[in-house]
Amino acid sequence: MGLEAKLNGDGFFVTKLEAIINWARKNSVYPMPMGISCCAIEMMAAADPRYDIARFGSEVMRFTPRQCDLMIVAGTVTYKMSHVVRKIYDQMPDPKWVIAMGACTSTGGMYRSYSVVQGIDQFLPVDVYVAGCPPRPDNLLNALIHIQNKIGNTRAKDFQNAKRIDLNVIQNN
């Protein structure tokens, strides 16, 4: 059965450490539910038994950024809120990923106005954009699968020269 069936007589197999870390990492993505407006309702729906984000190992929505590695920004980000979003993102431990969920988050959407940031990629490194207003929960799951594929393709050297967080950002903003 399963993994045991792959084992030979001696009970071990050889793989790369990278591969086993990526395998573990991508099947236990802890999302930070940054629910700012109506997209958050669809994000909650993705967590319920009908869509069941737990099938992908992401059911543990942590309400503290310290325990998360995926930020789902679900909703309209205003200029005033952008500082809060960035502050929470900065508190998440590396490595971390970002999903921009919905039209508002990705491009400003229907809020073409002075107060709304026209796309959170102006201040956050976004990995996956989700289309829709709001997107269906299946669409969010699709984005999560994309994130998993992305995590599966990372190499150890991707993290070796990673930029350290400038601590002043946290203290002064």
Partner: protein, 162 residues
């Protein structure tokens, strides 16, 4: 006597020189008055036992751009006793851009006046906490004024560093 007549009579009795202009539009009773009288008029409307306008639903403003008295501050009042809505209007000029607060009459108008100040730049005299409510405190413009561009002024609102 109808409520409109009672209001008209009472206001004319108490404030003979407030320059009231009574009118009716889409079923709502409108009263235009001099901005100097806004506080005592609101106090009377709320505290008179026959009227009891206990609810201040909204305070906002209109920007007429090129008119002589550029702004009109609009008060929407409601009396639960009679199920009746009343609209008060005061003209405010840009050169003398202030009006007395009514936050001592209705506590809810504290934030409504702050919003009005935030969006139009109309100062409310004697207001206990005249700060911006929506926009960041260091923002220099008034977004709902006609000259303000829809997409804002580039660089006026800060974004975090990437």
């Amino acid at each position: 006597m109808e409520l409109k007549e009672i209001i008209t009579k009472k206001l004319n009795e108490h404030f003979p020189d407030a320059g009231f202009e009574f009118s009716e539009y889409v079923g709502e009773f409108n009263i235009k008055l001099d901005k100097k009288f806004i506080h005592p008029v609101c106090k009377l409307l709320k505290e008179d036992s026959e009227l009891e306008f206990l609810l201040c639903e909204d305070i906002t403003a209109v920007d007429w751009a090129k008119r002589k008295n550029r702004f009109t501050v609009v008060y929407h009042l409601f009396t639960l006793k009679h199920n009746f809505r009343l609209v008060l209007k005061c003209d405010v000029d840009e050169s003398d851009c202030n009006i007395d607060t009514v936050s001592s009459v209705w506590k809810t108008s504290n934030w409504q006046e702050r919003e009005c100040y935030d969006m139009y730049g109309i100062k409310f005299n004697n207001h206990p906490d005249m700060r911006r409510i929506y926009m960041p405190e260091d923002f220099e413009y008034y977004p709902l004024r006609k000259e303000f561009p829809l997409m804002g002024i580039p660089g006026s609102l800060s974004l975090p560093k990437k």
